[in-house]
């Protein structure tokens, strides 16, 4: 088992290495560079050369990649171009704010998805299933920016219950942030819940149809005991991986949602840095978001391995 986990970690690191190459090359071939953007119309002659020298753009690209990668491994992303401050200082509060948003959505979303998924599976094709499944299709297919806009229109503008747009500085305390995050959290949790509930549903249905559950029914095991002891443990295991992939996929949706609500998180930084051609920040964001994706998947893989007794013995066969 440890061999498998080790292999997964190694694969994750290779993936991150390729991501860093892709983003470095990608940002490198963007038309215009930091200096032409920064100096605008004065970008010629001595000023341009001085700027190149100052930002170290006069050395070959592969050398810059190596020194950049070396610094990133030590946790130093360099300097942001527009703000002229260390990227770590730019990122810190943004990461914290996005983490608050994402974890609130996950804390609400996962239990909701479990409950709804189990209900729809046990009452398959009955009224509760039809209602919940239909709602789920709506909430998972409608784009984040539409559900977020509708939430603002209904809850913030028509009912005037909550603030529609987050107007807070980047570094606020958690309690100042709280009333502002309710609507964004609902917007993200809705989509996440719908996706996961659907997976839990089909996973439970699959297990319910399996031989050992049929056997348990024939043996006369009480219904709810059978559900909790035989069905759920086996049904939820394969769901872990899929849930992880869904969370990772939602990173993109979080970006859009943050823009709609003007939320000071990583997502808005993505848009700002790309509009400003702030390439060092774009590179840093790509690495961070990809690391989040890779580690969520890694955690899911490890959890599946730990919880699956069949895979534990694999090391003997290897």
């Amino acid at each position: 088992m440890f061999f498998l986990i080790f292999k997964r970690i190694l694969l994750g690191l290779i993936t991150l290495f390729i991501v860093s190459l892709i983003t470095f090359v990608g940002t490198e071939i963007l038309p215009g560079d930091a200096c032409t953007t920064y100096l605008e119309r004065e970008a010629y002659g001595a000023a341009l050369e001085a700027c190149y020298k100052r930002l170290g753009l006069d050395i070959p690209a592969y050398e810059r990649y190596l020194s950049w990668a070396y610094n990133v491994i030590q946790g130093d992303f360099g300097y942001s171009l527009s703000g002229q401050m260390p990227i770590n200082e730019v990122l810190g509060p943004r990461i914290k704010n996005s983490m608050v948003l994402a974890s609130a959505a996950i804390i609400i979303g996962i239990p909701m998805a479990l409950i709804l998924g189990i209900i729809t599976a046990l009452w398959r094709d009955k009224l509760p299933d039809i209602i919940i499944s239909t709602l789920a299709i709506f909430s998972m297919t409608i784009p984040e920016f539409i559900s977020a806009t509708l939430l603002i229109l209904i809850v913030a503008i028509w009912l005037e219950w909550l603030p529609g747009i987050v107007i807070v500085p980047t570094d606020v305390t958690f309690f100042e942030l709280l009333p502002n995050i309710i609507l964004p959290v609902i917007a993200i949790a809705m989509i996440m819940t719908a996706h996961m509930a659907r997976m839990v549903r089909s996973s439970v249905i699959q297990v319910m149809a399996s031989d050992y559950v049929q056997m348990a029914i024939l043996k006369g095991v009480p219904y709810w005991k059978m559900v909790f002891k035989h069905v759920l443990p086996n049904a939820l295991l394969p769901a872990i991986n899929v849930v992880a992939l869904t969370i990772a996929w939602l990173l993109g949706g979080v970006v859009v949602t943050e823009v709609v609500f003007n939320y000071p998180g990583l997502g808005r930084l993505v848009i700002e840095s790309i509009s400003n051609r702030d390439l060092p920040v774009v590179q840093a964001l790509a690495i961070i978001l990809a690391s989040i994706y890779v580690s969520i998947n890694l955690i899911a893989d490890v959890m599946t391995l730990m919880l699956n007794p069949r895979l534990k013995t694999l090391q003997i066969r290897k």
């Binding site: 290779i14 539409i146 229109l153 859009v256």
Partner: protein, 294 residues
């Protein structure tokens, strides 16, 4: 494998059969009708829209819905009804051709990787994994700010980016098929590699790839309209739902009509494509509900 050569008549009857299976369930029927409605609308709308979509008139700013302007007017005095009717054309065109490109390169590369295996397969799959782990929004924004936002850029960019998921599916399906006995017997009969790919493998992985492509279509539409919404998609004054929503959003506290109509348009199209793709998967006997949306 029985019918070695599929003639056009066979394909047509197969298509009709799949369509009728899809329409036999209410959700599939609804999905197909919505999709059909949107496609018809997109093709025919330029001939019957009541006003010019880019005619700006400051005296008509933010008019409420009336008998003259059914869905009201927007902040530049343009007719919202006209712009909503036209708003699906670009989205449908871009995502349809984008999905075709995604299907082609994703399917071919996936089948190739599944066939050759070994080192090449490993390297390609690593690169595909790396692309998968960059959030779609960041990658699309990078591509678009690199190459611009014209349709000629958006279609291949979306096609490329959404094809990487198809690579995985096509590769997995090929892996499943390649271990089967009929491949070994075709090899023993002395068929050429091309003949084995064309006659034995392709018919067996086709369904999985097509279903994946249909799902990609709805996600691509989501991605495309998110880009438009963020201001990185098609440029104004082109009527596009994502763009219309983003323009009208700031004024929705007193002009809700200009944001509701594009919302209804885009949501119904995405739901229609999704229901259709789901029904398509079910009609071909593929269970998609346990898959993650990557």
């Amino acid at each position: 494998m029985e019918n070695r050569k599929e003639n056009p008549k066979n394909i047509l009857s197969k298509v009709l059969e799949v369509l009728s299976t899809m329409a036999s369930k209410p959700s599939g029927l609804i999905g197909l009708s919505i999709l059909f409605f949107h496609i018809t609308l997109a093709i025919t709308s330029p001939w019957f829209v009541p006003y010019d979509y880019k005619a700006i008139d400051p005296t008509l700013m933010l008019q409420a819905p009336s008998s003259e302007y059914w869905f009201g007017t927007d902040s530049l005095g343009r007719d919202v009804f006209t712009r909503t009717l036209l708003g699906g054309r670009i989205a449908l065109t871009v995502t349809f051709f984008g999905s075709l490109i995604a299907l082609l390169w994703g399917g071919l590369l996936g089948i190739f990787c599944g066939l050759v295996g070994g080192k090449i397969d490993d390297i390609v799959m690593r690169i595909v994994d790396a692309f998968l782990s960059i959030p779609w929004i960041l990658a699309m924004l990078l591509i678009v700010s690199l190459l611009g936002t014209s349709i000629e850029v958006l279609i291949p960019a979306l096609g490329f980016f959404y094809g990487k998921g198809i690579v995985r599916v096509a590769r997995a399906a090929t892996h499943d098929v390649i271990a089967k006995d009929f491949i070994a017997s075709a090899k023993a009969r002395g068929h050429s590699n091309m003949s084995i790919i064309w006659n034995e493998i392709l018919p067996n992985v086709r369904d999985a790839i097509l279903v994946e492509g249909a799902m990609r279509w709805s996600w691509m539409l989501l991605g495309f309209s998110s880009l438009s919404f963020l201001g990185f998609g098609v440029s104004p004054p082109t009527p596009d739902w994502g763009l219309m929503i983003s323009n009208a959003r700031g004024l929705m506290s007193f002009a809700w009509w200009s944001v509701i109509s594009p919302i209804v348009g885009l949501s119904s199209l995405i739901i229609g494509i999704n229901l259709t793709a789901d029904a398509f998967a079910k009609a071909l006997g593929i269970d998609r509900s346990t898959k993650a949306p990557v």
